[in-house]
C-alpha cells in the first residue's frame, strides 16, 4: 500500500486528494510528516502543497455539499486527530466518486466518523463558550487562557466578537501557543511569551483590576447559594462539568 505524507494542513489534505485522483494508486495510508516513521518496504509519496490544486478540491466540495457539511469537514479537520485525517481523506474521495447526496450515507464508516468527530469538536467549542472565565486585568483587558482538546479557537472568534463588542479581550490557547485579541474594532491573532509563569490560565493576582476579587467572590457566593443540597447529585454534576475543565472555573477555585 502506498503511503501519502502531507504536512498536516487543510491545504495539504486537499492536495493529497487531488494527487490521489491524478494517480489512482488504490487504497492508501495518509500520514502527517510528524507521525511518519520510515519503514523498509512502504512506497512513499510526499504531497507538496499547491494552493491552486487545494482550491479546486475545496470548490468541488462546496458545490457537492451544503454549508452544514463543509463546516463539518472543517470541524473534523480541527480535531487534529491522526485517524480523522485518514477518514476525512476517505470521505472526500468517496464523495467525489459518487453522485450528489452521498454524505447522507451514515452506513459508510468514513462519513459516520467525520460526522461524529465534527460533533465532538462542536461540543468542545460549545464548552469553551460556556467555561471561559474572563478576568479583568489592571490594564483593562479581559483575559482567559485555555487548553482545549481540539483546536477550536478559530470557531470561537465570531461568538466572542459579537458578544463582547464593547470590551477588549484576549483568549489564549496555551497548548497551541496562539491567541485571539480583540481591540474594540477587529480580532487579531497574537503570540505571547510567558516568562517564569506557571499558571497561564489566570493572570497573577497583582495584575488584576481592583474589583476583580469582589466579583469572583460574589460569583462563588452565588454558585453556593443557588445549589439545593437536598437534591445533591455529584455524578450528574461531573458529567456536565468534567474535572479537566475545573481549572478554568472561577466558582471551582478555592478561596484565597
Amino acid at each position: 500500500m502506498t503511503t501519502f505524507i502531507f504536512d498536516g494542513s487543510m491545504e495539504g489534505l486537499f492536495c493529497a486528494v487531488f494527487e490521489w485522483f491524478e494517480r489512482k494508486p488504490g487504497p492508501i495510508k495518509l500520514l502527517t510528516i510528524k507521525q511518519h516513521q520510515p519503514t523498509a518496504f512502504d512506497v512513499l509519496f510526499e504531497v507538496f502543497n499547491n494552493s491552486a490544486k487545494a482550491h479546486r478540491v475545496w470548490k468541488g466540495l462546496s458545490e457537492k455539499l451544503e454549508k452544514g457539511w463543509t463546516r463539518r469537514i472543517y470541524c473534523a479537520y480541527l480535531s487534529e486527530q491522526p485517524d480523522t485525517f485518514q477518514h476525512l481523506f476517505d470521505m472526500i474521495c468517496y464523495l467525489f466518486q459518487n453522485p450528489k447526496g452521498a454524505e447522507a450515507n451514515y452506513g459508510n464508516e468514513a462519513v459516520l466518523h467525520v460526522a461524529q468527530m465534527a460533533r465532538k469538536v462542536e461540543r468542545e467549542k460549545h464548552r469553551m463558550e460556556a467555561f471561559i472565565r474572563f478576568q479583568h486585568t489592571a490594564d483593562g483587558i479581559f483575559y482567559c487562557g485555555i487548553d482545549p482538546d481540539f483546536n477550536v479557537l478559530p470557531l470561537l472568534l465570531t461568538h466572542f466578537k459579537n458578544r463582547y463588542a464593547d470590551q477588549q479581550w484576549i483568549i489564549y490557547d496555551i497548548k497551541r501557543h496562539y491567541g485571539l485579541f480583540y481591540d474594540l474594532h477587529k480580532v487579531e491573532e497574537i503570540q505571547m511569551e510567558f516568562k517564569n509563569i506557571t499558571n497561564r490560565t489566570q493572570p497573577a493576582i497583582q495584575s488584576l483590576s481592583e474589583k476583580e476579587n469582589l466579583y469572583a467572590c460574589l460569583w462563588k457566593d452565588y454558585f453556593k447559594s443557588t445549589n439545593i443540597p437536598a437534591r445533591k447529585n455529584m455524578k450528574l454534576h461531573i458529567q456536565h462539568v468534567p474535572k479537566r475543565y475545573w481549572k478554568y472555573l472561577t466558582e471551582k477555585q478555592l478561596d484565597h
Binding site: A102, A104, N105, Y106, G107, N108, E109, L112, H126, E129, A130, F131, I132, R133, F134, Q135, H136, F142, C144, H159, N162, R163, Y164, A165, D166, Q167, K211, L214, Y215, C217, L218, W219, D221, Y222, F223, K224, S225, T226, N227, I228, P229, A230, R231, K232, N233, M234, K235, L236, H237, Q239, H240, V241, L249, T250, E251
Partner: protein, 418 residues
Amino acid sequence: MSERIREKLSILADAAKYDVSCSSSGSTRKNDNKGLGNGHNSGICHTYTEDGRCVSLLKILLTNHCIFDCAYCVSRKSNDITRAAFTVDEVVELTMNFYRRNFIEGLFLSSGIFKNADFTMERLLRVVKKLRLEERYNGYIHLKTIPGASEDLIREAGLYADRMSINLEMPTESGLKLLAPEKTHKEVIDPLKLVQNQIVQFKDEKKLIKNVPTFVPAGQSTQMVIGATPETDKEIMQTADAFYKNFSLRRVYYSGYIPISNDSRLPILGSQPPLVRENRLYQTDWLMRFYGFNVNELLNDANPHLDIDIDPKLSWALRNLQFFPIDINVASYKMILRVPGIGVGSAKKIVQARKFGRLRIDQLQKIGIAYNRAKYFIRCSDSPMQLREYQNTQIKSFILAESQSKYLKNDIQQLILF
C-alpha cells in the same frame, strides 16, 4: 459595602433557586448597537451546581418580602427568615459585571410581592429598561410576570424581555386552593393570554412592516410543583398539554417539591424530593413535544401514573406490542421514533442511511442507538431468527436485568416464575 451586597446576593439567590426554569435559548437579539451581549439561539449553560442543574442565568429575586402566604413557598409571609431587597442599580451592576466575565448568559429576575402587584412589576420594569436603554445590554433577560399587574406594565415589559413566565404553581385548581387560598389559576391564565396575543400580533405586524421591535422573542414558560398535593401524573400532564396547546408555551417545568415547612398540609420536613417522578414527567413532556406522542397514549384512565422503574416510552411500547417488531429498513420515521432506545438524532440518520442499502446491526450500533434495548422491537437485515415471541413482562425483565439505572439500586426484584 461589599459585605452587604454579598449578604443580599446570598439571601435573594437562595430564595430564587426553587424556580427551576433555567433555559437561555430562543433569543434572536443581536448586538447591533456595539453594546454588550448577543443572543445565542440554543442558549449556553455556563456551569452546573452540585445537584446537577445548569446555571445559565443570574437567578435572583428583587426582594423576598411578600404579602402572600403560600404554604409551598420559602418566602411566604409567615416564614421566619431574613428579608432583603436589591436596589435597581445593584441588580444592573451585578448583571453587567457577571456577563462581562462570561459567568452568565443573562438575568432571571423574579420578586416577592411587596405592597401590590403593580408596584412590584414597575420595579422589575425599571431594572430591565435600565439594562437595555442605558447600559446597551443585549444579553438574555427572563422576567417574571407578576399576577395581577396592569396590562400596560406587562405589555411594556415584553418589549425588553426575551422570555416571560408566570407559574401555575399547582397542577390543579383544587390543589392551589388548598395551599394558596389567595391565588387562582385565572390570575395566571389572563397574563399568559395577554402576552400570547401580543406575541402573535407583533409577529403579524412584522410580516408587513420591517422595523417592528421584538416582543418576548423566546416565548413564555410556566412551572408546576410536583408532589406537594396528591395529583396523578395523568392530571399533571393533561394540564401541561392544555397549556402547551392553548398558549403556545415553550416549556412547562416540573419542580419536585422540596420540604421546606412544617405545615400539616404538606409532606413532612426531611422527606426525599420526588426526583424519579420528576424525571419521568420530563421524559413524558419530551415524548409529547419531540416524539409525536399524544398525552392520552402515555397516560389514561387505565394508567393514571407513570411507571417508576421504566421510562414512559418503553412502558408504552410494552403495552402496545402489537405494533412491534418493526423493520428498520422499511418502517416510517414516525414509527422508528417510537422504538425504545432510538432517539431523534439516530432516527434521522437511519432514515437517510437506509437509502444506500439495507442496514445491519453493527451499523445501527455505530449510528448510536441503544441496541440492547431496541433489539426486542426491531428487525434489520441481519437480525437473528427468533422462534418464540416474548411476553411484555419477559422483555421488561430482560431490559431491567441489563440496565444500570441509578434509581434501581435498592429495588427488590420480584421473582418471575414463568
